[in-house]
C-alpha cells in the first residue's frame, strides 16, 4: 500500500528551478532511497514533504488522502543540517522536541525513558548538550526523530558525523524500525548503504527525476552483460577461439583456477556464452556481474549532464 506520494511537484526560487515535475511514490513498510548529486533538489523535496515549504505546483498525498497540516505529527525528520540547543539539558530538550511533535509530556517522558535505556544514555539526561560529543549528540537527535513513532521517517544523510561503530548501530536501528513496519525515506550519497537498506530508489539530478524503481530492478537494468568466470583450462587457446566474439575485460591465471571478466555484445545471451565457454574449458563458476549502485549512480548522472 502506498503511504506517501508526490505528484508532479515543482518548486522554484526566483529564477532558480529547484524541482520540476517530480513524482515519487513510497510504499508502506519500505525504505525509499532518494539519491542525487549535491544541489539536485533532494533537500527541497524533503522540505516539501515536511511542509517546511510548499510546492509551487503539484500535489502530495499521505495515507491515501491529500496531505494536511496534521500529517506532520506522523512524520519524523532528521535533517542533514542538524543540531540541538547547546545550552539546554538533554532530557528537557528531547521532551520539548517530542511535545512539538504532538506528544503529551507524559507520553514523551515514557518513550524517552525506553529509548534512553536502550541506548544506555540515561546518565546524560541532566547534561547540557554542549557537554556531549558530536556522536553522542547525534544519538540524542536520532531518538528525538523517532520518539513520536512516526509512520514516515525521513533521514537526510543520517550517517554523516557518526563513527563506523555508531553508524553500524544506527543502521541496525533503521533496519529494526523497518522490520517493525516503519516507512523510511532515506537520502544519502553513501551508495553502499543504499544497496543494503533501500528497497526502492529515485534519482534526482538538476531538479528532475531521472531514475525510479526497485533497487534490484535498477541494478539489473543497468547491468552490462559482464560475467565473472572461473575455469580450468588454457587462457591463450580460449582467447584464440572466442576472443573475436566476446570482449575479455580482465583475466588472471592462478594455480587452481583461472578467472576472467567477459562481456557479450548486443544480441548475445548468457546461454550462448556458456555453450561457447564449455566447448573450450571446464567452468568452475559463472556469475553475472550486477553493477553496484555507485556505478549506476555515476553512469546515470553522467548520461544526463
Amino acid at each position: 500500500m502506498e503511504l506517501f506520494s508526490a505528484h508532479e511537484v515543482s518548486k522554484s526560487y526566483s529564477d532558480f528551478k529547484a524541482l520540476s515535475d517530480v513524482s515519487i511514490s513510497v510504499e508502506e513498510g519500505s525504505v525509499f532511497g532518494l539519491l542525487g548529486p549535491n544541489g539536485a533538489g533532494k533537500t527541497t523535496l524533503i522540505r516539501i514533504i515536511n511542509q517546511i515549504t510548499a510546492p509551487d505546483t503539484g500535489t502530495l498525498t499521505f495515507n491515501g488522502k491529500p496531505m494536511k497540516a496534521d500529517d506532520i505529527y506522523r512524520i519524523g525528520y532528521l535533517p542533514e543540517e542538524r543540531g540541538l540547543y547547546k545550552k539546554m539539558k538533554v532530557g528537557e530538550q528531547a521532551l520539548y522536541l517530542g511535545m512539538l511533535k504532538g506528544l503529551s509530556r507524559r507520553e514523551a517522558m515514557r518513550e524517552l525513558k525506553i529509548w534512553f535505556e536502550k541506548f544506555e544514555i540515561i546518565s546524560w539526561w541532566d547534561k547540557k548538550v554542549m557537554e556531549l560529543s558530536k556522536g553522542m549528540q547525534q544519538k540524542v537527535q536520532f531518538i528525538c526523530t523517532v520518539l513520536h513513532k512516526p509512520k514516515l521517517m525521513i533521514f537526510d544523510e543520517p550517517f554523516s558525523g557518526f563513527d563506523p561503530i555508531n553508524a553500524e548501530l544506527l543502521k541496525d536501528e533503521i533496519l529494526r524500525l523497518k522490520r517493525e513496519g516503519a516507512t523510511i525515506i532515506f537520502s544519502t550519497h553513501n551508495m553502499e548503504s543504499v544497496e543494503e537498506l533501500c528497497d526502492h530508489i529515485a534519482l534526482i539530478n538538476k531538479s528532475k527525476k531521472i531514475l525510479d524503481g526497485p533497487t534490484l530492478n535498477i541494478r539489473e537494468q543497468y547491468k552490462s552483460n559482464i560475467f565473472d568466470v572461473a575455469y580450468k583450462g588454457d587462457f591463450q587457446s580460449l582467447e584464440g577461439k572466442i576472443g573475436t566474439r566476446y570482449a575479455i575485460l580482465e583475466h588472471t591465471e592462478q594455480a587452481r583456477n583461472n578467472t576472467l571478466k567477459i562481456q557479450f555484445s548486443e544480441g548475445g545471451n548468457s546461454g550462448a556464452l556458456i555453450r561457447d565457454l564449455v566447448e573450450h574449458v571446464e567452468i568452475v563458476s559463472f556469475n553475472e556481474l550486477i553493477p553496484s549502485m555507485n556505478d549506476v549512480f555515476i553512469k546515470v548522472v553522467k548520461q544526463n549532464s
Binding site: 510548499a54 512524520i75 535533517p79 539546554m88 511535545m99 512539538l100 526523530t145
Partner: protein
C-alpha cells in the same frame, strides 16, 4: 498546549532560569540602590576627625565668636603667632589656618590655608559660621540706625514664595491643574523604558534566532512548527522575560526606596539629624506646599490613559522592532554579518530618544508632532507627549499607523525569517532580503 505556547514556554523558562538573568535582575536594583544610598549614607556619616583651626582675625569682627564644636576647635591667635605660623603650618599642631583680612566687609572673602585637602564639610562650616556672624552684626547695625527693634521679624515676614500653577484647558473646556515638571518626568521615564526595552530585548530576539540558526536546530523545529509560529513564540516569550524582569525591578525598587526612606533619618547621630533638620527648617513650609502640590498634580494626571497608552506603545514598539531584529537574525550566519543590518534598525530608535528629549520641552512643536506619528519613533516620542495631553485624533492616528506598520513588519519579517533560517553560507544583501519577501511559502 498549542505549539506556539510550547515555543513560548521554552523561550521563557530557559531564559529566566539562566544565571545571567537572575544575577542581572537582582544586581541591577542593588546597584541602583547602592548608587542612590551610598553617597547619602557617607555624606550623613559623621566626620569624627578632630581638627584644630587657628584663626587670625585681622578685622577683629569675629574675635571670640567662632564657637568650637565637638570635632572642630577654633583657636584665635595673635598677629605675632600668625606671622610665626604662616610659613610653618605644616609642622604646627594646627590642621588649618583661617585668615581674616581687615577689609572683610568689603571683600566678603576669607582664606582657609591648610597642608591638607580641606573637606567640603569643614569649608561649609566655616563659611556658615562667618556668614551668620556678619549678618547678625549688620542687622544689629541697621536696627540701631533705624530704631526698629523687631526689624528681623518684619523682614522675615516679607519673604514670599510664588507657585505658578499651570492650568490646561481640557477639550470640554474644564480647567485642569497640570504640571510641566510631572509631565516631563513621566514622559521621560515612560519613553526611556520603552527605548531600553526595545534595544535590550530586541537584541535578545536576534541573538535567539541566530542561536537556533547557528546550532542548526531550526530545521528540526520547523518540521514541527510553522516558522511564523516559531518566530512569534520567541518574540512573545522574550517579551514576557522582559516584563518579568521589569516587574521584579519595580517591586524591588519600591522596596528599596521605602526601605531607604525608613533608614535615612534618625539612624545616625542625633547631632547630624539636628543639623539636617536645622538646614531644612527654613524651607519647610515651602517643601510641604510642594509635596501637597505634587500630590495634587499627580491626581490631575490621567493615569489610566497614560498607562493604557504605555502598554499599547510598549507592545507595538517592541513587536515592530523585535520582528525586524528577528528578520536580521535569520538572514545572517554570524554576528559580524549582522552589523550592516543593525544600523538601519538602531538609527530610528536612537533618533527617537533624541527627539524625545526635545519633545519633552516642547510637546506640541512640529518635530514632536511628526515623530510621534511616524511609527518607528512614535512609541518613544508619543509617550513623552502623552502626560502633557495629546489631541485624541493625533493619538489615534499614531496608533493606527503603528498597528499598520507592525502588522506589515511582522508579516514581512516572517517571510524573510522563513527563508533566512534555512539559508547558509550566503552573504545576504538588502536586495536579497527584498527578493525573499516575494518568495512563496
Amino acid at each position: 498546549m498549542s505549539k506556539i505556547g510550547l515555543v513560548l514556554t521554552r523561550e521563557y523558562t530557559t531564559r529566566v532560569r539562566k544565571r545571567s538573568f537572575i544575577i542581572m535582575t537582582i544586581l541591577m536594583p542593588a546597584l541602583m540602590a547602592a548608587m542612590m544610598i551610598l553617597p547619602t549614607y557617607f555624606m550623613t556619616q559623621d566626620d569624627t576627625k578632630e581638627r584644630h583651626i587657628a584663626v587670625y582675625d585681622g578685622s577683629t569682627m569675629l574675635l571670640g565668636q567662632m564657637e568650637s564644636n565637638q570635632y572642630t576647635k577654633y583657636t584665635f591667635i595673635t598677629k605675632e603667632a600668625y606671622d610665626g605660623l604662616k610659613d610653618h603650618l605644616k609642622d604646627s599642631p594646627y590642621y588649618a589656618l583661617l585668615v581674616i583680612q581687615p577689609n572683610l566687609l568689603n571683600t566678603n572673602t576669607v582664606q582657609l590655608v591648610s597642608a591638607n585637602n580641606i573637606p567640603f564639610d569643614v569649608k561649609n562650616q566655616v563659611q556658615n559660621k562667618i556668614k551668620s556672624i556678619i549678618e547678625k552684626e549688620k542687622m544689629a547695625a541697621v536696627i540701631k540706625e533705624t530704631n526698629i527693634p523687631d526689624l528681623e521679624a518684619r523682614i522675615k515676614a516679607t519673604k514670599t514664595n510664588i507657585n505658578v500653577n499651570t492650568i490646561k484647558l481640557g477639550e470640554s473646556g474644564e480647567a485642569r491643574k497640570s504640571s510641566t515638571e510631572i509631565g516631563m518626568i513621566l514622559g521621560y521615564v515612560f519613553g526611556f523604558v520603552i527605548y531600553m526595552f526595545i534595544l535590550l530585548y530586541g537584541q535578545m530576539v536576534m541573538q535567539g534566532v541566530m542561536e537556533e540558526k547557528q546550532s542548526r536546530i531550526v530545521e528540526v523545529i520547523i518540521s514541527s512548527v510553522k516558522p511564523f509560529e516559531l518566530m512569534m513564540g520567541k518574540i512573545v516569550g522574550i517579551a514576557l522575560v522582559g516584563l518579568t524582569q521589569l516587574s521584579i525591578w519595580i517591586v524591588l525598587g519600591f522596596m528599596i526606596v521605602s526601605g531607604a526612606r525608613g533608614l535615612m533619618p534618625g539612624a545616625h547621630h542625633a547631632d547630624t539629624a539636628q543639623q539636617i533638620m536645622a538646614q531644612t527648617q527654613a524651607n519647610m513650609p515651602a517643601e510641604m506646599d510642594k509635596m501637597q502640590d505634587i500630590i495634587g498634580m499627580l491626581g490631575s494626571v490621567n493615569f489610566p490613559l497614560i498607562i493604557g497608552c504605555f502598554i499599547f506603545f510598549f507592545i507595538g514598539g517592541y513587536l515592530l522592532y523585535s520582528s525586524m531584529y528577528a528578520a536580521v537574525g535569520s538572514a545572517v550566519d554570524a554576528q559580524e554579518d549582522a552589523q550592516q543590518f543593525m544600523m538601519p534598525i538602531m538609527l530610528p530608535i536612537i533618533l527617537a530618544i533624541l527627539v524625545m528629549m526635545s519633545a519633552i520641552k516642547n510637546p506640541e512643536g512640529p518635530v514632536a508632532f511628526w515623530f510621534s506619528i511616524i511609527p518607528f519613533t512614535s512609541p518613544v516620542v508619543m509617550m513623552a507627549r502623552i502626560p502633557f495631553g495629546v489631541p485624541i485624533w493625533q493619538l489615534l492616528l499614531s496608533m493606527v499607523a503603528l498597528i499598520a506598520t507592525f502588522v506589515g513588519m511582522v508579516w514581512g519579517a516572517g517571510k524573510i525569517y522563513r527563508t533566512g533560517i534555512l539559508m547558509y553560507g550566503k552573504k545576504v544583501s538588502w536586495k536579497e532580503l527584498g527578493k525573499w519577501l516575494t518568495y512563496r511559502t
